[in-house]
Subunit: 248 residues, 6 copies
């Protein structure tokens, strides 16, 4: 079920106990020399739509909230962003009317790295207001970590930025938007964890090219296989949240 | 040009002086017994896309910011909303990176009544920060007031809520989402201006049915004609903002 | 009844159901070369006082809240202003104790253009908190639009800034504060609506002189007649709000 | 000079170095059974006007900001108030345009006890922004402590609330607004300092009657003498601030 | 009883009616050429610990909240500080869980001048939320004013900054942290009250040396005697708050 | 070097390039039936002090900021907490004066799970303001993950809450504060990650007993060995941050 395609009476008729609200959140920001700024939104939106399409009776899908916390990309230009405090507030406000309207099982499905920390802060704030709810969230790559690791060839077997993974996904989902990726060279790039410490750097400090890993290794076939695997794994997570007992 | 479909280098290459940024803003909220909650987003997004499609060399289109200021619909359920202060902050944050990146001509194209006042507050705040810019905004119905008045049959020849106009538009744009509109009866409804005074009422106080006017008079043909007229008028407004001299 | 001139027991004794609270809001800001910075406060305060004086048994008048949202005048100097977010908060705080104390009919009578948008945002916020109230507001010129149009001679038959209208009013109300108005030349000035779009400009961008229209056409006689007409029209609006049914 | 009665060019012509800006701040709140809610505003406004009248060439007077921090009176009703954080913000906003416009000597003249602490917080915030200014403030009773002590008869020889002092002042300034004060009995009331500790209590906890001390001892003659003494003392403080060297 | 040294069941077992919560608040900021930045925290913490040690059955001591409102020292460096609004919020948040958990008698024991005004604002905010509580606070020097005055030799017989008093106290409490105080010369320094007006100045404007008064007159013996006297006086204040009737 | 034990001139003399600022952050909150509420502060503070003690020439230690984001423990009582937004603001404010004073290498050493997400948000905010700095942070258990895993016996070889690890640490550091831990039974407890999703639950929902794992397996000897290993690993992280190149 798609929230934005239903009438109010149709939404009123949904069984709140057996329905999970899926709120995809992403970003519109620079994605290296070869991928569109909407990359995170395209991928996260497609995953969320596919998850809903496979379980339409128990998943209520909201439209992708595409404005992310992307200030660490601003020095590249081509980036839209919410301030961190506004972003936390907005995530809470997105969930609040649904929870007040009786829905009690909710997943924020995230598709952008910079959203992870404010998302967790928002989930902590919401829990204090709505303790009798299943309030959850994760990036799709955390849910499908193994699927992703096994589907990539380059050294970095995870989701970086405009990398082998993301390039493959956009080749699969929106190939017409990919620009000469074979020539995209990420060059060396810096991690954000050193000796167990999170080191806060903006993206320009981490990669001159605005991308990481090996976009040149990307292919639409990899993208298709990864997409399939991710959708399946998120589907498992959705079922888990539907089965989770409502807390006191 | 669509911001979210371009790469960062492509955006960097845009001529800032001859380009207008078009930021559509809408809502996802209850729309009576017969229209989808995404009605405002569907209409405003379609108008904005058509405007860009007819002047792709001079219009840079952002994705529709679909989360609106809809708290006055909350008592009906089936409504997502941002708080007014968060909404004002977000509109400013949407524009800020574009203005800092050199764009100087901007239209917020609005598709939801509740957004009008906070939009104007946001434009006033942005002007203080970016005085050397053309910062503008309006609901498409204010831009195309006469077009709309002349394209409707019922007594209310303007955009109400889930009314003759909106129903016609969704019949034109997404007919599969319209539910038994011939039976939708708005019944009597209250205005929000009395003797020149704005009287603040929530939507439940204004209309028991959640809609206004004569949805039963809607038709896809009306919708098509209205759509065409609105797109043309917004195109004129876009040209005006491209011609406006940059202020000191 | 004047709130600030009554004792607490006298206020406690007022019949809440049959009383309207009148909250005048204005500004202190530059008003061209010839009018005092307090112009908006003088006019709005005088109108509000006259309205109360003609219906003292049913109107409870608060003192004029003279600090307005005037940041768009700051580049001229001679301007005091609240930030937009502070102003919205303050309008809500002004109304809140009255509504919590049982009053249910309220008009914010506005006398400054920059206040209109934040006032409407404030009325929207208050409505969510106090749904069972008549919460209204408008600039006096919106209430008395026709009276004003018919009382002026120049091309601009509406309230601009330090214009024919405002100059006439101050000549009527406080003639000793008007400085050589016959020599005030507004020169060309820019509108804030172009092709249906609100274009956000500060006052220096709209008028080099800090005033609009034809102040040289002003007269105390026009001011007296306009004042009389406006007070009468606001009186009608007050009666309408006293007659409006309290919503659920 | 009265800010609100001058034109912008007149204000532009003021010698910033030799002028002190006087910002009176007060309240509108319950004042016992016998005094009007505007008591603090009437007294503080009258003192400020008299101070300006005696040194018009060196004092620039703003209109009284009458909305105070009066939440501790709310349980009595008949009280308007700003929230503490809004009030601090507003005091800063009141001063900011004046300081940015070149004025460097400023006194907030306070007439309400609940304003003292937020005023000092605001002065601390402003000092960080405008270090090269003389930013000062006090209640008139702190400036004229001895004058007040020597002009009263009752046991409490200071400014309480709707007390001998305030009643005398309103008898002097607006006698028609005083209601049967001879019968006003404050009864016992609690201090807000105990063994050196500030104990935060609302006014209802401190006095059942909403007033303190001996209003029955008030007289217009006392009021006149006190007023004269206070105005003189504030005049001395004004001169001191005009003489204070501008800091680095 | 020390809050941070007790288990949750032990805290649950405390008699709320007969217990006072003591919340020491201080600062870490420059303290002249000879005293450690932690001076205020050392003194205030030691006083609070001694007060608890003498009445452990009726005092529940929180750890010293050492981050103060010290922005007026920033120009000297060597200073940590909270913004004033954050500080007010934090003081409220410190008290709130204790008050919600049933404690009703609370003293904020302050050890830093810059904290006084925001502390009082916080106590005023808390009172509105928790009217049936004894919410109090003061600097230890306000509680023990006479003790301090009689224990000092220099002209300034009160607590300044890194002065005779504070130097004596640190010599008594942590002598190894005092650096060549005999050579510390405060030189002339400016008061913060002039003719009854609070004049907001940062510390660099008040004293070039970063200290006031006569640190060279300090001695550990004076410190020991002052400490003893202060602890006794704060003990009296604690007893008073334990005896104070709970308000309605 | 301990910030709070140094004079301002001593701090001014520190070589900013070769010094790392270590800011320990912790919490005071319920810790099961057997551990003191100050557990996190005791452990984190002791680790930070030991790290400084072993590299005093290159580490500048701030006092432990003991107030954490602990609202998820409030339902147990015996908990102090900052709101999440206040906590993020405060962490930024803690770092800001140090960074403005020239320090460029900073580690927030965290000792409380609820602080992790707001800490990362704060580090992201600070990076935008101070891009030419090494801004890092982590919980000590993330830095010393392997050390901890290998030092425990129970099934949960990580830091839970009032668990085998924390009980051992307090037995080592403050044995007199541990209460009958052999009888503490955590019972079953819920994880906060399910199928890759973070599920936001308060502590009462995760564990009825307020503790996790096997506190009964704790020993002072384990605590001593773990402490030693953690301090060594944090020392390695400190060296890494001292060696990290300053970014552009």
């Amino acid at each position: 079920m798609k929230f934005h395609e239903l009438t109010a009476p149709a939404i009123a008729g949904i069984d709140r106990d057996r329905t999970l609200v899926l709120l995809p959140i992403a970003a519109v920001e620079q994605h290296g020399p070869h991928l569109p700024t909407g990359t995170d939104t395209i991928i996260c939106g497609a995953v969320a739509e596919a998850v809903e399409a496979r379980a339409p009776e128990s998943v209520l899908l909201a439209p992708v909230y595409w404005l992310g916390a992307s200030a660490h990309h601003l020095r590249f230009g081509a980036t839209l962003t919410a301030e961190l405090s506004t972003y936390v507030a907005t995530l809470c406000e997105l969930a609040r009317p649904l929870l007040e309207d009786g829905f009690r099982r909710l997943i924020f499905l995230n598709g952008h790295g910079g959203n992870v920390d404010p998302l967790k802060v928002a989930l902590r704030e919401l829990q204090l207001e709505f303790p009798q709810s299943i309030l959850s969230g994760a990036s799709y790559w955390s849910i499908a970590e193994e699927v992703i690791a096994s589907g990539l060839e380059g050294e970095d077997r995870f989701v970086g930025h405009a990398c082998e993974f993301e390039t493959s996904m956009i080749q699969h989902l929106r190939p017409e938007l990919v620009d000469e990726f074979r020539r995209a060279h990420a060059g060396p790039w810096l991690p954000d964890v050193v000796e167990g410490l999170f080191v806060s750097r903006d993206m320009k400090q981490r990669t001159r090219a605005g991308c990481t890993g090996r976009p040149d290794l990307a292919s639409a076939e990899k993208g298709a296989a990864l997409f399939e695997g991710i959708v399946a794994r998120v589907g498992v997570a959705v079922k888990a949240m539907l089965a989770e007992p409502i807390p006191d």
